[in-house]
Amino acid sequence: VKAVHVPLSGTSAFTAYVSIRQGRPGEAKHVIPIALGVDHYVKLVIVVDDDIDVFDESDVLWAVATRMQPDRDLVVISGSLGALLDPSADERGVTAKLGIDATRPFGEPFAEKLVMSPARMAWARALVERLG
């Protein structure tokens, strides 16, 4: 595991983003129940590769958009222990849980993530500061 982010958008702890460096096939799916089990509040877990910044939600959603296949990458657990504070849970606080595996398929060739070089972005930042 490289990083974990429990974002503000998940209000208290309903959402967790986990980035991992996959060492063995199946690891991303393995992480889902582990993360869900950390706290009964956790309802949605999104697992991404270590080139994704879990503290940048748009980067996480980019991984979901480009690396996730719904028929093989979604894990749903029904009737699990949730939070009474969650208005979508039933009156006993029982909720379903969702894990999304947004990692690249293990050990297979896959499209590269293209990023601008840090040097050019630093140049652009300085230029925007000057231009206003």
């Binding site: 601008m116 050019r120 230029l127």
Partner: protein, 98 residues
């Protein structure tokens, strides 16, 4: 109807929305500089039209982000932003015949 050339559009847009056209006078390379600046403005949630006046090795300037914002696209179509979606849907069906 607005004049149908890029220079007139940029001039009219700059007059209507001062500050929304950014002129870059320092030299830039053709390779990554233009996109790096677009990305940096995007990171700041800003989408000005960018005019690169000095491109290394070329006499022709580069214009980027021409209709990157809803504001610029609405301006180009001559409607308020609130009417942009319906106007766009209407105009995209109007084929230009030559």
């Amino acid at each position: 109807m607005m004049a149908q050339d890029l220079r007139s559009f940029i001039a009219a847009y700059a007059e209507a929305h001062p500050g929304e056209v950014v002129r870059v006078t320092e030299p830039v390379s053709i390779e990554y500089d233009v996109m790096a600046l677009v990305l940096e403005y995007e990171r700041r949630r800003r989408y000005p039209i960018l005019v690169f006046e000095r491109v290394d090795g070329y006499d022709i300037p580069i214009v980027a982000n021409v209709v990157a914002s809803r504001r610029a696209l609405a301006f180009a179509l001559g409607v308020p932003e609130s009417a942009l979606a319906t106007e766009y849907a209407r105009r995209i069906k109007e084929h230009i015949t030559t």
